[in-house]
């Protein structure tokens, strides 16, 4: 029961999804019982951290490292994941040949080629993913961060103009509507009496 209520991903192989036959109602009831007995008691966090052995997920992790950090350290981390993916026994849906090509490209420092080949190597695995439940990401394509700080378009200039107009109007109105006396003046007036 404790696992149902508190093992929320801790130590769980994230690639494995629970398709347990127990009904949600049963789990809910179990959780309510758990609350009554162990409410607020620290209970999770004792599990060992788990690393996945699922090949396609290891490849995705490599892609994740490349998407976040293309420095030497990032490439190193990505390479570790690729090597893990090649070494694992759980390679369902992973095209090992393409993965080896990706490794070669990564070794040579050709990040874009490596990224394309890593993505291609798990096409089949990703096509078999069931609909997401719980914490599943169901990520299929890992692209680098979208840089939203491009050049100024016509609409951007329009928004700048509207913002400046609001800013100036707001400042003018705030000054016009300011209270007649500052706190200091109020203090002096009230100290002087009526």
């Amino acid at each position: 029961m404790q696992v149902q209520c508190t093992d929320m991903g801790v130590g769980r192989d994230p690639a494995r999804r629970s398709f347990s036959g127990r009904s949600s109602r049963g789990r809910f009831a179990a959780c309510v019982l758990f609350v009554m007995v162990f409410a607020l008691a620290p209970s999770a966090g004792s599990d060992e951290p788990g690393e996945t052995t699922e090949g396609y997920l290891l490849v995705q992790q490599a892609l994740g490292h490349l998407a976040h950090d293309t420095s030497f350290e990032g490439l190193d981390l990505a390479m570790e994941k690729v090597e893990d993916a090649l070494a694992t026994e759980e390679q369902d849906g992973v095209d090992v040949g393409t993965l080896l090509q990706a490794k070669t490209a990564l070794d040579a420092g050709h990040v874009e080629t490596a990224r394309t080949e890593l993505q291609a190597s798990i096409t089949q695995a990703l096509s078999n993913l069931p609909p997401a439940t719980g914490e599943d990401t169901d990520t299929t394509v890992i692209e680098p961060a979208l840089d939203t700080k491009g050049g100024m378009s016509g609409s951007d200039w329009l928004f700048v103009a509207i913002s400046l107009l609001a800013l100036v109007a707001g400042v003018l109105l705030a000054v016009r509507f300011r209270p007649p006396d500052s706190v200091g003046e109020l203090r002096r007036r009230m100290a002087a009496g009526p």
């Binding site: 620290p42 999770a44 719980g134 913002s163 006396d181 009230m190």
Partner: protein, 365 residues
Amino acid sequence: MMSAASAPAAPGAVGSRIRRVVDVIDDRLGIKALEYPVPEHANNLAWSLGGVTAAAFAIVVVTGILLVQFYDPMPETANQSLRDMVTGILGMGFVRALHFWAAQAMYVTATLHLLRVYFTGSYKKPREGNWLIGVAMFGLVILALFTGTVLKWDQEGFEALGHNVELGGLLGGAGMWFSPDFADRIPILIRLYGAHVVIIPGMIVVLMTLHGLLVKRHKISPHPSLPTDASGYQASADEPVEPFTHHLRRIAAFGLVLFGVLGLLAVLWPPEVGPAPVMGLEVTKPPWNFWWMFTLENWIGLPGIMYGSAALFVLLIILPFVDRNPARHWRQRPVAITLALLILLVVAALTVLTAFGTAKTHLGM
């Protein structure tokens, strides 16, 4: 007293027409009830920060309504829907950026408002209940920031979700709602989406209404450097008053300034959309609002977030019941002021430590 409606209006006078329109509306909706007197000091910026927070909330709500038209909360497509929205729909990049910056502004102004109330002793009798409502709203603002971060469904958002889930586990049964197993056929992203767009803003609106009504009931708190009435709870009758509508129009002016500043930030520094999330990675730092907790997490593990935030909120909740000193001026409250400065210093130091640190692995540890 003769009402403006019954007074003969000069033909063509715009002011008279506006007054007549106001009278017509007042006859039906009673809006003149808002003209109750408030002390003059209420119209300065420090005493208007709650209203400025409400203005930021209004911007967040309007931009949020536009965003939900195009955002897809399904995990498979959430990140891509953001990318499509920002790059493919005219003006939505600006709307998203404005939503982001307005949320940041709401956090900042709510914090400043809370600090103003603290340092001027405005939480003291008879305003303890309204202080608690304010603290609850502050917690909801943090929750809104947190759920909004997750909704981006990039690596940063997914790692935030991982923390959410594991902290739920640390809470035992009390954290059950945060478990993906609570409703195991529904992606937790969709439940957090529901919380972000309905539950949290709905609760904020309810509490904000109560907050406003209690401000009217207890009246604007006295300024600590000005004389009070005999009870010590209200501004002196000698202090000039203005109608509350003047307070509202000044807040509207501050709201325009805020909109202008946020609009410029939205165009010049729009938030990026990170890569779609991958399970088992922990390579990002949380948003700056959570950096102080992140440092605690680096030191003592995941429970550090829980202990740190719980300690802060427990202090905020018990404050009006522990601090029985009736004085409001900071010079007459050495303990409360020293304590607050110490806490601010600690939070600032913890924040700076994460600002100059790197992302670390905590999940599943």
